[in-house]
Every structure is written in structure tokens, then in C-alpha cells.
């Protein structure tokens, strides 16, 4: 008990306050979002229930249904299915309706609850996050809604973990407390982070894994790439890949981090060999688990949206042009970008930094998105100015810049590549959306903190105060919109 107290006492008080902020925001989102209404949440729950009750993963292509009998009945009799994406429809919150459902639910067996054999498109995802949620499902007493609430709390814990890892990551980058605090407060207050930390969806686990990985990578570079540190960093990268197919770009970033650590610390060949061997051993172990679980399902390789199976005419110039037009205006000599009119504004501003919630039907006013976009542009310009003005410091910190920059580039390039491949065959689904940027949330926080760190010492706290105050109000507006959509 005393050692716990001592350990707790060592946690910096600003971090404790920010953990409380993240926990409160996550809990508020949990309550204000009706059950099964998050992005694909009903299918994620179907996966968890199947895994918890039968030990098997649902099929992505065959079967008689994606959900257990309890979930299916809740969706049908309490309106949680038909209200999806229909803001004019509300769930049946009346006590008599819920009691009727609970009475029916009490008659169900474990087999009924795990009946969601498929087809479930979500089962293309690897099983790590679902296994953790399945454990919560198993240990939670009560009915379906108790389980859903507790499973959402696990997502909340992952948000808190992301906050803690962002603190540690920012501690590797900054020497002053204020920018460190700003980076973490951004993660704790961003509405999309709070929302994804309150629904059943592996995106928040991806964010936690990427943030932990970046912290461990920078720590390994600072302290030296011992076999233990290389193994631990690789282990987190493996966990990320076992969480979602979209996290595959963490592998090249891991290689970059290891090479950077060796280049910076110049260890003896024997030490390099030990570090490489331990990383490879963990990587092979992860690949074995990946292969074994994939073999037990009909999902094949857990690709998810990351499945790059479309081998239609790939053209590097067309991909480059597509990425250019995603962010910047189209030149007259450019071929129009493939797919629908979807770009930076939709993905970064409306669906991520501002946010579109529930199953995208809860969105904010366009005035708010405009303000977010203008703020983003001003901050991006300030970020650029700070980097240019402090180029010697930036150059001196090239290892951290390399790892963080390569992580951001790898995630974005991978998303664009997956989107481009999906559109090549003439499809209209861009396959990417704002929440896929969540693994970058700590990097966004670091960028904001860099701006604060670059300001004059007297101005920095005031600018930080205004930005964090605005971010908090944005969260309140988003939370209120969700509460109003479902329950008012």
C-alpha cells in the first residue's frame, strides 16, 4: 500500500488533473451516445460477443447473422437498429420497453448471446482489442447494457493510457512543462478522442499503441538500443498490428527507429546484434500469433480496410496527383482525382479536429468547422515559423524528428494508398475517414505544443489558455449535440 502511495505520489500533479479530464470526458461521451450507435459499433459488439461466448471469431462472409440474439433483439425492439444514422429517430428509452427486453434477455443462453456467427465485415480485424473486450464481457455481471457500458469503459481506459503515453512522449521532446501539458490536454480534450474513448471500436486502442510506441522509440534512442528496449518497442508495434490492419505502417517506422537508435548511440556490433535479434524474436512471435489466429478464421489475413488486394493498374504519378489534390487545389493540367469530392477539409477538419460523431450523423455547424479550419491554418503557419526560426534546435533533435515525422508520413501515406487502391477499380468509397487519424493524435498534440514552446515566455501561457479553453467548449458543444440527437 505504501509503495502504491509512493508510486502515485511520483505522478506529476498536472498529469493527474489531465487524466481526470480524459476520464470525465470519456464517461460523458459514454452516456450521451446511445448504445450500439458508434461507428460500426453493433458489428464490433457482435465480434466480441461471439469471441467471449464461443471462443471463435465470426466469419466475414458467411453465416446467419452478425449479432447475438440479445443484441439483435435490443436493436429490433428498442429501436437501436433502425435509428442508426437517422437523427429524427430516438431509441425506446421507456422503462416498460426496457423491462420487457430484460425479461426476454433473462431467457437467453450463452449460445444465444454468441450466435453472431457472421457475416460480419468487422471480423477482418485482428483479435487483440476484441479479446480484451471479450474479457470485460465475461466478467461483467448483468445484462447486455451493463456489458456495453463496461466495454465502453475499457475504451475509456485506453484513452487515459493514450493521455499518459502522450505525457511521456512529450517529456522526451520538450524540456519545459507547459508544452508537455498542452500536448496532453489536446489529447484529453479533442472531441473525437473522447468519443472514440467511449464506444466499442479498436481505433482508440490503435491510438494508445502508436503513442506508446513513439514514446518507447524515443526513449530507446535516448538511452540506447539495448536488447530489452528493442524488444519492448517491437512488442508494442506487434500489439498495434494485432489491433488493426491499419497499423501495419508501424513496422517500417520501427525499423527507422531501430536504425536511428543505432546511428545515434553507435553501439558495438555485438549490442546491435542483440538488439536486432530480440526485435526479430518478438516480431516473429507476433507474426506467429497473427498467423495462428488468422488461420482459425475464414477472415484470412486480417486486412480490414488495409486490404490492398485491388491490383488494378497502379500508377505512382496518379497516386501522387491524387494526394496533391486531396490537400491542395487542382492545377488545370491535372487529371481529376479519382472518387467523390473528399479531401483535407472533410477528413481533417470536419471528421477529425471538429468531429462528426455517432455514425457520422451528429455533426457540428459549418461555422464551427470554418473556425476550426482557420485556427488550423494559423497554427500550421505558426508551427512552420517556429521550426524555421529554430532550425538549429530542430536539426540537433533529428532523431526525434525522424521517428515522429516518419510515423506521421507512414500513417498518412498508407491511408492514401489504401484509398487510392480502393478507388482504382471504379468504386466510390474513399475508404478513409477522419477517425483513422486518431493514431496521430499525440503528434497533433506535439505540433500544438511546439507552437506554444516557440512563443515568447510571457505570451505562451495565455495562448495555451485560450486554445485549451476553446477546445473545451468545442467538446461541450459536441457532447451536447450527441445528447440532443439521442435523448432530447
Amino acid at each position: 500500500m505504501q509503495s502504491f502511495k509512493a508510486a502515485f505520489g511520483r505522478i506529476p500533479s498536472p498529469l493527474i488533473a489531465l487524466i481526470a479530464v480524459a476520464a470525465l470526458m470519456s464517461l460523458a461521451w459514454n452516456i450521451s451516445t446511445a448504445p450500439l450507435q458508434g461507428f460500426d459499433e453493433s458489428d464490433h459488439v457482435g465480434y466480441v460477443a461471439r469471441l467471449a461466448e464461443t471462443g471463435s471469431i465470426p466469419s466475414p462472409t458467411t453465416g446467419r447473422g452478425a449479432h447475438g440474439t440479445d443484441e439483435e433483439t435490443a436493436m429490433a425492439t428498442l429501436g437501436l437498429g433502425p435509428i442508426l444514422q437517422n437523427p429524427l429517430a430516438k431509441p425506446a428509452w421507456g422503462q416498460s420497453s426496457i423491462q420487457r427486453f430484460e425479461k426476454f434477455e433473462a431467457t437467453l443462453s450463452s449460445a444465444d448471446r454468441g450466435a453472431g456467427e457472421g457475416p460480419n465485415g468487422i471480423s477482418k480485424n485482428p483479435p487483440l482489442y476484441y479479446a480484451a473486450e471479450a474479457a470485460v464481457w465475461k466478467i461483467t455481471p448483468g445484462g447486455l447494457f451493463d456489458r456495453l457500458f463496461m466495454m465502453r469503459l475499457l475504451s475509456g481506459l485506453l484513452l487515459v493510457a493514450t493521455v499518459v503515453f502522450t505525457w511521456l512522449l512529450a517529456g522526451e521532446v520538450f524540456t519545459r512543462r507547459l508544452p508537455q501539458m498542452v500536448a496532453v490536454a489536446f489529447v484529453a480534450l479533442l472531441p473525437m478522442a473522447g468519443f472514440l474513448g467511449a464506444i466499442i471500436n479498436p481505433d482508440i486502442a490503435s491510438a494508445a499503441a502508436w503513442t506508446a510506441f513513439l514514446w518507447l522509440a524515443l526513449r530507446m534512442i535516448r538511452l540506447g538500443p539495448s536488447a530489452q528496449r528493442a524488444a519492448l518497442t517491437t512488442l508494442v508495434a506487434v500489439a498495434a498490428v494485432l489491433t488493426h490492419g491499419r497499423n501495419l505502417p508501424i513496422i517500417p517506422v520501427l525499423v527507422i527507429a531501430l536504425v536511428t537508435a543505432w546511428a545515434v548511440n553507435k553501439p558495438k556490433p555485438k549490442e546491435i546484434l542483440a538488439g536486432a535479434a530480440s526485435a526479430v524474436a518478438v516480431g516473429v512471435g507476433g507474426a506467429l500469433i497473427y498467423g495462428l489466429t488468422a488461420a482459425r478464421t475464414t477472415a484470412g489475413a486480417f486486412g480490414g480496410e488495409a486490404n490492398l488486394g485491388n491490383t488494378a493498374a497502379f500508377n505512382v504519378r496518379q497516386l501522387a496527383s491524387s494526394i496533391w489534390q486531396f490537400y491542395l487545389p487542382t492545377f488545370t493540367n491535372m487529371q481529376p482525382r479519382l472518387g467523390p469530392g473528399y479531401g483535407f477539409r472533410q477528413m481533417f477538419i470536419e471528421q477529425f479536429l471538429g468531429g462528426a460523431f455517432s455514425s457520422s450523423e451528429v455533426f457540428l455547424s459549418y461555422t464551427i468547422y470554418d473556425v476550426v479550419q482557420i485556427s488550423f491554418a494559423v497554427l500550421a503557419l505558426a508551427f512552420y515559423t517556429v521550426l524555421v526560426r529554430n532550425w538549429r534546435t530542430v536539426l540537433a533533435r533529428w532523431p526525434a524528428v525522424t521517428v515522429i515525422g516518419s510515423a506521421a508520413a507512414a500513417i498518412l501515406l498508407f491511408l492514401h494508398l489504401a484509398s487510392y487502391r480502393a478507388l482504382l477499380g471504379g468504386g466510390s468509397d474513399v475508404l478513409i475517414t477522419g477517425r483513422y487519424l486518431l493514431p496521430l493524435v499525440a503528434i497533433f498534440g506535439l505540433a500544438l505544443a511546439t507552437v506554444i514552446a516557440g512563443l515568447p515566455k510571457r505570451a505562451a501561457p495565455f495562448v495555451a489558455a485560450v486554445l485549451l479553453g476553446a477546445l473545451f467548449v468545442l467538446s461541450i458543444i459536441a457532447l451536447g449535440s450527441s445528447l440532443e440527437r439521442f435523448y432530447a
Binding site: 481526470a20 452516456i31 444514422q85 501539458m181 461541450i476
Partner: protein, 224 residues
């Protein structure tokens, strides 16, 4: 420095809340009690109720605050149909003759006396006592499922007539907040008072925690 920074944080929050959230909370909107047959988003159909015909919608939840049944009517006039509307459930029966119900923007709001006890499996029936047909907006079954089913003259039909139960046609959002929080408590294992406490903690506790964290971070070098 610390006090001024915390002041800037709290002032930013107060000003932005006053400019954005408070005006919104002062606006009015219908207060929904239940949507047993949903208003469709993009797939519509219509059920014509001819003179002397009667349509019934089953599985309608009546709460003690269900004061209005809102239908959506379609098509050309008459916009003031003559109807007899009845609501019934075990231990509850209410009947309302609507001589010339005014449909505003296609919405037909029928005032009903709410039951003393909430019930889930009620029925609302509408008898056309006028001389003109009335088109009720409905959801085609292929487009969206519904909690309720519709019958026309006792026979099931292949569409769900939409109905929304309201406690008020127009209520300030701030006044509707207690109901919204009570509704939200239905699906979580938390009592309403705890949800209220959480709400207060979010609105007051989060700025307080941010203030503390910000003040404690000024002029500090990184430790752990």
C-alpha cells in the same frame, strides 16, 4: 502570471459558452417522448386514409408526459382533415375528436391526455370522419424497420405510418435537459442523480482541472 493565465482560460470558456452554448439552450424545439414509427430519412411512401377508414398503429409507448401525437401528412389539401384519434393501452383510453386539425408544414399535432402510468404496448388509431382522403407519410418496410406496425381497417399494410409522441410542441432546450438526462440513464447502470453529478463535474470540474494543470505547468521544467 499563474492567476492571469487561469483567468484567461476561464474567461475564454465563459465567453465562448455565452456566445455558442447558452443561446442554443435558450432556443426551442419539440420535446420528444418516443418515436415508435420513425420519420424516414430518404425513402417515403404514403398511406391514404379515405373517408370512414381507420388506421391503427400498434406498439406505441405512452409515457406520463405523452401529450401530443405528431403525424406527417402529405399531398394536396385538405390541410385541415377531420379526424377521430384514439389512444389506448391497458388501463388507458383517450379519444380526441379533431374537427379541423390544422396541419402546419405537413405536421399534424393531436393533443391527447397522457396516461397516469407509462406503458409500452399501446395503440393509436385515426378514423377519418371527414369527406376527403388524407395522405399520411409512412416508411416503406424495405427502407427501414419500425417498432410498430400499421393496420388499415384492421388489415396489416405494407408500410409503417410515422408517428412521434411529444411532451411539448415547443420547449426551451434548457428546460428539456432534465428529461434528456433521464432518458440517457435508461441504457447505463447509473442513477439519474449520478448523471447529473457527472454533468456538473464536466462543466465545472474539467475547467477546474485544466486550470490547475495549466497553473502547475507554468515556469516548470520537466521532471518525470
Amino acid at each position: 502570471m499563474r492567476k492571469a493565465t487561469v483567468g484567461a482560460l476561464l474567461a475564454t470558456i465563459a465567453v465562448l459558452l455565452l456566445v455558442t452554448v447558452v443561446p442554443h439552450l435558450r432556443t426551442s424545439a419539440p420535446a420528444v417522448e418516443a418515436t415508435p414509427a420513425y420519420t424516414p430519412l430518404n425513402a417515403y411512401s404514403s398511406v391514404d386514409l379515405r373517408p370512414k377508414q381507420k388506421l391503427c398503429i400498434n406498439n406505441v409507448p405512452f409515457s406520463t408526459k405523452s401529450r401530443y401525437a405528431q403525424f406527417l401528412v402529405q399531398g394536396r389539401p385538405p390541410t385541415q382533415p377531420e379526424l377521430l384519434v384514439t389512444g389506448s393501452a391497458p388501463g388507458y383510453k383517450v379519444s380526441e375528436r379533431v374537427p379541423k386539425a390544422p396541419a402546419v408544414n405537413g405536421q399534424l399535432n393531436i393533443e391527447l391526455s397522457p396516461p397516469a402510468r407509462a406503458t409500452a404496448g399501446g395503440t393509436i388509431c385515426v378514423l377519418n370522419s371527414g369527406s376527403n382522403a388524407v395522405g399520411f407519410l409512412a416508411v416503406p418496410p424495405s427502407a427501414q424497420s419500425s417498432l410498430s406496425a400499421t393496420t388499415l381497417d384492421g388489415k396489416p399494410i405494407d408500410a409503417h405510418v410515422t408517428v412521434t409522441m411529444l411532451s411539448s410542441l415547443s420547449e426551451r432546450r434548457i428546460e428539456n435537459l432534465p428529461s434528456a438526462l433521464a432518458h440517457a440513464s435508461a441504457f447505463v447502470p447509473l442513477p439519474v442523480w449520478l448523471i447529473w453529478t457527472l454533468g456538473v463535474l464536466v462543466v465545472i470540474g474539467v475547467p477546474a482541472a485544466l486550470s490547475f494543470s495549466l497553473a502547475a505547468s507554468i515556469d516548470q521544467r520537466r521532471g518525470t
